[in-house]
């Protein structure tokens, strides 16, 4: 499967090659196996050396390779004819990819704060997204909307309100649930997320009246949402001028308008990343990591872990609400079906691919997930279907498998491609199993992202220079290595 291979071979730069902190002892599990794996390893080493562990470079390289892959898909589909149509197709494909990747990145970052940093197994992501989107809708949708009703408040109020509401629901869930062990927290959050979805779906709440205000979730028929704020940019002034120039060049209007909103989502990814990096690289983040590793130890060192867990749960849930607003809130309409538990599962896959515990990994994971597992198979299937004239696909599974015995694979192939969106789940499962077996730490999870506001590796002056000897603990360290080993981002294995 192409997706699977891409993930293994894709950019996987090691902060410090395989010689991360424990590298001298065990090394990477992949190193043990020979054959094709070692090729991947060599590739990975090379990539690692090229980027030297710079996070932005890793993200951009991942994005560039996914962009490249999809550009190729579109070019193949258009027989490499570089017409305006093809360029439009490429632009709209890449725009869509970026939008999904950015949306998943916000959610993955939020989940990484819960699960990767603190070890809180929250599988109710979709529920917190729904709270965010619906609250935003109820606050900011004009009262005269065709489906569902709102207060018509300004959008920033709605967005902030959505995040606060998601955070509050998180708090309500956290108070009883954080006393529970990890598995029970998972059940509680999953249950909560379904309760939220079914509540939104309920016809009882679809509309009611608060004094003179009409108010409601729209039930199963959904809720109208305010238009994207970026759309208004093109209704006059410089925006309209730019649009005229671009449409004059043959680019479709919708692509430009959508791209503007996508840039907003990307900006939010940068903001959330910045926020969470600061949270991670701080004494607060250190306590979170300690809770994940061993809560009793954190308590025994005087940390009131309950408070830390509640705070982190609120912040993460608010960011999930934000992620929901940025993604599902941008279509002008939402209904409860967008918040099925599968969404939570997707976000988990993104975090797992990227490597839980790494903020950069969450973004890389989101890009890889969207590119290779979420959008990739559909594109790939479409191209193969177009390229090879397979005829009409059989209607039943029996009809597809039957001809295989007659050594005729065409009907089976056609059937598989016809049902590629269903096969995506199979692919997803296979990829998850492979990652869990071969590389449970994901793309970047092995790195040491030091939880401190400063570089801890710098020894105070007046002491013996830092040494990195692998000698016995009884011997005093010698003075071979310089003190400034190991940068802040690159972890401690830079040599």
């Amino acid at each position: 499967m192409s997706g699977e291979d891409r993930i293994r071979d894709g950019p996987r730069p090691d902060g410090g090659g395989s010689a991360d902190s424990s590298g001298s002892v065990g090394g990477d599990a992949d190193d043990v196996s020979a054959g094709p794996e070692s090729v991947a390893d060599v590739l990975r080493e090379a990539i690692a050396r090229a980027f030297g562990g710079h996070d932005l470079a890793i993200v951009l390289a991942t994005l560039a390779s996914i962009y490249g892959l999809f550009t190729l898909f579109v070019l193949v589909a258009n027989d490499f004819e570089l017409t305006t149509n093809t360029i439009n197709a490429i632009a709209s494909t890449l725009r869509l990819l970026t939008f999904f990747a950015a949306s998943y990145a916000v959610l993955a970052l939020a989940l990484n704060l819960h699960w990767g940093y603190t070890g809180l197994f929250n599988i109710g992501v979709a529920g917190f997204m729904a709270v965010g989107v619906y609250t935003m809708g109820l606050l900011s949708t004009p009262p005269d909307a065709t489906s569902g009703m709102g207060l018509g408040l300004p959008l920033p109020v709605g967005v902030l309100g959505g995040m606060i509401a998601a955070g509050l629901v998180g708090l309500i869930a956290a108070l009883p649930a954080l006393r529970l062990e990890a598995d029970y927290l998972a059940i509680v959050t999953l249950g909560l997320s379904e309760i939220i979805r079914l509540t939104m779906n309920s016809s009882q709440l679809s509309s009611w009246t608060v004094s003179t205000f009409g108010f409601g979730t729209g039930g199963g028929s959904g809720l109208n949402l305010p238009a994207r704020p970026t759309d208004a940019l093109f209704d006059g002034g410089a925006g309209e001028a730019l649009l005229t120039v671009l449409t004059g060049a043959g680019i479709r209007r919708s692509i430009v308008v959508d791209a503007a909103y996508t840039l907003v989502v990307v900006a939010f990814v940068v903001g959330v990343y910045w926020l969470l990096s600061r949270v991670g690289a701080s004494p607060f983040g250190r306590v979170l990591k300690a809770i994940r590793d061993d809560e009793l130890v954190a308590q025994s060192l005087g940390k009131d872990t309950r408070l830390f867990k509640i705070k982190v749960f609120i912040v993460g849930c608010a960011l999930m609400g934000l992620g929901g607003i940025l993604w599902q809130g941008s279509y002008g309409y939402v209904n409860p079906n967008s918040f099925r538990p599968i969404v939570t599962f997707y976000v988990f896959v993104a975090v797992i691919i990227g490597g839980s515990g790494s903020n950069t990994g969450s973004i890389v994971g989101a890009i890889l997930f969207v590119g290779l597992l979420f959008e990739g198979p559909r594109q790939f299937g479409g191209i193969v279907q177009n390229a090879m004239d397979l005829g009409s696909a059989p209607a039943t599974f029996a009809g597809a498998v039957g001809p295989l015995f007659g050594l005729d694979p065409i009907p089976f192939l056609a059937y598989a491609l016809e049902n590629i969106s269903a096969l995506q789940f199979v692919l997803l499962g296979v990829v998850l199993i492979v990652i869990m077996q071969r590389r449970p730490e994901g793309v970047l999870g092995h790195r040491t992202e030091t939880a401190a506001a400063i570089d801890l590796g710098v020894r105070p002056e007046g002491n013996a220079p830092a040494a990195r000897s692998g000698e016995e603990p009884t011997s005093r360290p010698d003075t071979t290595a310089a003190a400034d080993h190991g940068g802040e981002t690159g972890g401690d294995g830079d040599e």
């Binding site: 902190s21 424990s22 004494p283 607060f284 990591k289 590793d293 009793l296 801890l456 020894r459 603990p473």
Partner: protein
């Protein structure tokens, strides 16, 4: 929470005043050395009624930071700890010994807050800390290590130590995130980093600083745990079998460190079941057997105690 605790202390102070005097006397007797000090304090207690802190200070002799009274803990029908009372004097290394299953670790867990005792009380630095959460007890200066070293495996040795100090301003979320407030966090981090490196050098594990704690050997983990506990700047360290699974060279080193620290003014209560270590290194020994206190006294006395010899040679599974 603190209000409740205060209220509890208040009533406790009033209710058990005579008993406390008696207790202090027996403890002083047992300890043998602090008679004069504790009696003086006990007699001055009624005169200094004005503040709670003063009364507490008076009630507990200042050089007996930890007092355990009538501690009892049962698990179902099994009485793990049965009516155990003892005290730990400031600036000593006190050993708690006993054969397997004597209730040492349970006693420890009750003191450190990991378990809540069924009855009895634990007083630390004059305050009743019975049933407090582990973090509340730790912030008061009573810090423990674990029988099986519990390093934080996915964190580096440096991070492990940086975690420990209490009252870090950066543990407030907003300070860590807000651009203006982060300066104070960074300043404190620098100070802590200096202490961390000093502590690592003291325990001679500075060459492991950047390793993940999970990659350390068993003995190194024990050193790490002690270093980490020390970073909280405790008054009293509870060490649960600090020498279990440690090779003889490292054992010597660990004991040296404990002695050094004792000389610097730290107090230790250590659980151990190696009699020789206890006899050679502790000033005061408490012996537990089948959940209750068997004997208490200086090592020489314990060594010749018939009951202790019986418990160890006769009743032990070792």
């Amino acid at each position: 929470m603190s209000k409740d605790a205060d209220a509890g202390e208040e009533t406790d102070d009033v209710g058990v005043e005579p008993a406390v005097d008696a207790d202090a006397a027996t403890i002083a007797d047992a300890a043998g050395t602090t008679n004069a000090a504790s009696e003086e304090n006990a007699s001055t207690a009624p005169e200094t009624q004005d503040s709670r802190v003063e009364r507490e200070a008076a009630e507990t002799p200042p050089d007996v930071p930890l007092q355990v009274r009538n501690l009892r803990k049962t698990f179902g029908g099994i009485v793990a700890v049965d009516d155990v009372s003892f005290a730990v004097e400031a600036g000593t290394i006190t050993g708690l010994i006993g054969p397997n299953g004597a209730g040492k670790s349970t006693t420890f867990d009750c003191i450190a807050g990991a378990l809540e005792p069924d009855s009895g009380s634990v007083r630390f630095n004059g305050a009743d800390v019975t049933g407090f959460r582990p973090d509340q007890i730790a912030t008061r200066g009573l810090v423990r290590t674990f029988q099986i070293a519990r390093e934080l495996p996915e964190m580096t040795v440096l991070e492990n130590l940086m975690l420990a100090p209490t009252d870090q301003v950066g543990e407030q979320l907003w300070r860590s995130v807000m651009p203006g407030a982060r300066g104070s966090v960074i300043d404190q981090e620098r100070e802590l980093r200096e202490r961390v490196w000093e502590t690592l050098e003291f325990f001679e594990i500075d060459h492991l600083a950047r390793q993940k704690a999970g990659a350390l050997s068993g003995g190194q983990r024990k050193l790490l745990e002690m270093a980490r506990a020390l970073m909280t700047d405790p008054d009293l360290l509870l060490l649960d079998e600090p020498l279990a699974g440690v090779n003889p060279t490292l054992e010597e080193k660990l004991l040296d460190r404990i002695h050094d620290l004792r000389d610097q003014g730290y107090t230790f209560l250590l659980v151990e079941h190696d009699m020789d270590v206890i006899m050679d290194h502790c000033e005061h020994v408490i012996v537990m057997h089948q959940g209750s206190l068997l004997a208490e006294g200086p090592p020489t006395e314990i060594r010749s105690n018939e009951q202790v010899i019986d418990a160890y040679l006769g009743g032990s599974s070792e």
